[in-house]
């Protein structure tokens, strides 16, 4: 007669959580250098993650502050469907100036030169062709919106515009070509055979650098003299800080309320959007690198733990002989890998933090890092270690004790 197993005899083996932790720490603490080398990949991965996140945040804050300093205040409006007609009304400057947030605005276009304009300072036409100087027609508002700096003289104004006066301002480069250095003697420039009095010389512009190369005349004068209705006109608007987005939506309605779709506006990207884009671009790249490093780290832990399991086969066999179940062995090996991962995550977080602060100091930036990232780093390491420990843990649990104890 055979008895059923006595429950007091066959009470299951017990491997308490605290003991499992103690055993795992004992193994890890025994070989600190090997543990660190095992964890190196994960350290790099987590370090890259923290550095990436921290630098992206720091850099985006920096982008934001710089973007505020150079806030985009430029809006351009152009013909969305050119059909040879002028899409802009005659009072474009006035309509746009009436919008809240517009500093200066006006229309401009390059006067097409059929080869007969021949800008020059003498009434007689030259015998040989010289390098043509472009002629730009610009309303006074467009001229002011380019934020010009004058070397001498003044800009023409609305009065000249309304009267289609033959007046011009010339760019610094064009002035050199024409040999004009001063306007004290009221120099003139001949376009075709019409004299234009030079009111001023532009030394520099913040926008439309073409103005430095060209002779700029009022659009009314250009329209009258050159009948350039087919010219490709463009409106330039200088806005108050922060108003560009709004003006971009209002300008077509103000200029062509009956057909705003005819006009296309070019507005600078929204600072917030740009900042987010920069952050996204930087983070996506570095997250990919961090992910790759973590993958390498996980493979390193798997590899090292597998080797460790092979090396510790007698010990694993002994533990089985002492009553450990397969589950106990799995748990211990997985726990060791997880703790290795946690250590790697913590060390990686510290290294990442140091890297962010070092870069920020070197660039005189303000280091910005989300505390949640620092807290997440050890967790990422733990998960990496746990995943990496699965295969070795299963292999260890399958180790036949009788065989290993014979070694």
């Amino acid at each position: 007669m055979r008895r059923r197993p006595d429950p007091t005899i066959t009470a299951p083996s017990v491997f308490r959580r605290r003991d499992a932790l103690t055993e795992a720490f004992a193994v890890i603490a025994q070989r600190p250098v090997r543990t660190l080398l095992t964890a190196l990949g994960t350290i790099l991965g987590v370090g890259a993650f923290v550095t990436t996140t921290g630098l992206a945040e720091t850099a985006s804050a920096q982008v934001s502050s710089r973007f505020d300093a150079l806030r985009a205040t430029e809006v351009r409006v152009q013909d969305a469907a050119p059909d040879g007609t002028n899409p802009f009304p005659d009072d474009t400057d006035q309509r746009l100036q009436a919008l809240n947030g517009v500093n200066n605005a006006g229309v401009s276009y390059t006067v097409a030169d059929p080869g007969t304009i021949q800008p020059r300072t003498l009434a007689t036409r030259p015998l040989r062709t010289t390098t043509p100087i472009p002629v730009i027609a610009a309303s006074p508002g467009a001229l002011r919106a380019a934020l010009p700096t004058l070397a001498t003289g003044r800009l023409y104004d609305d009065w000249h515009q309304q009267r289609a006066e033959h007046i011009a301002v010339i760019g610094r480069v064009a002035a050199d070509q024409l040999g004009i250095t001063s306007i004290d003697r009221q120099p003139v420039v001949f376009l075709d055979d019409t004299p234009y009095v030079i009111a001023g010389i532009i030394d520099d512009v913040a926008r439309n650098p073409d103005l430095l190369l060209a002779i700029t005349i009022p659009t009314t004068a250009a329209d009258t003299q050159f009948a350039a209705t087919a010219a490709e006109r463009q409106v330039l608007i200088d806005t108050a800080p922060g108003a560009a987005q709004l003006i971009g939506t209002q300008a077509p309605l103000a200029l062509r309320p009956q057909q705003p779709d005819r006009l296309q506006t070019l507005v600078p990207p929204d600072p917030n959007t740009l900042r987010n884009q920069v952050e996204d671009d930087v983070q996506t790249l570095f997250y990919a690198l961090a992910g790759l490093a973590l993958l390498v780290g996980a493979i390193a832990i798997t590899n090292a733990t597998l080797l460790n399991v092979v090396e510790r086969r007698p010990e694993i066999g002994l533990r089985r002989a002492l009553g450990a179940t397969r589950h106990h062995i799995t748990r211990q090996i997985a726990l060791e890998a997880s703790i290795t991962g946690t250590i790697a995550g913590t060390v990686g977080a510290i290294i990442g933090l140091i890297a962010v602060v070092a870069v920020a100091i070197a660039r005189t930036w303000t280091p910005t890092i989300d505390p949640a990232v620092l807290l997440a780093a050890p967790a990422i390491g733990t998960i990496t270690g746990a995943l990496a420990g699965i295969a070795p843990a299963i292999k260890a649990a399958r180790t036949p004790p009788a065989e290993t104890l014979r070694q």
Binding site: M1, R3, P12, E23, T325, P400
Partner: protein, 256 residues
Amino acid sequence: MTAGLEPTPATDPHSAGAAIGVKSAVRDVVVVDGLTKTFPGPPAVTALHPCRFTIRAGEYVAITGASGSGKTTLLSLLGLLDTPTAGSYLLDGVDVADLDDTTRSALRARRIGFVFQAFHLVGYRTVIDNIALGLLYQGTPTRERRARARTAADQVGLGHRRHARCSTLSGGEKQRVAIARTLVRNPSLVLCDEPTGNLDTTTTRQILDLLDQLHHTGLTIVVITHDPTIAAAAQRHLTITDGHLSEIRREHATTP
């Protein structure tokens, strides 16, 4: 000279009045009947042919045999480290031949102690840690584990080296730690696989004396060895040849 092992009539599990389930003054720790182990191969190898024997509580049994004769296979089966191909094995009256791995682990944790030729100590841990390891899977609280480990260390004469790392111990000391690790578990059955195989003559004598002392405290000990001197120190002497087990009687030999 050799003899087949006839089970003691009083303890034959198949006979009326068998010791199993019956309270007797001396209980049977091991009752084996037809135990066989065949490794599937190919080619299939029968490492242990059907054998039948009983070991009573407190007995000191030596199993000898040449290398490859099947004695380690027998030890693995007795120690529940491996499962038999056929036959029955009652350990402390519990049929363990067909138990699942978890239950066999539980029995190993509470009923069986091992002493190996290679000591199988965790070298980077201290004497106390290694001895306490014997109680780890019994769920014994840490403090009690360490207290009992200290007592066991004293019993085997290693009280002064409690905190030494095992990697720094001599062979004899290592085997004492292994014996203490078994002793601390208070097992029903102690299985020793060539316990003096890596030791010099003097240390061998000391270990044998220690095993003898433990035997006199009532421990049931099975020693697997190829050394006839060790076998001579045991109460009973079984021998295994090409997987066939037989007992060598002190006075006379019988065949199964």
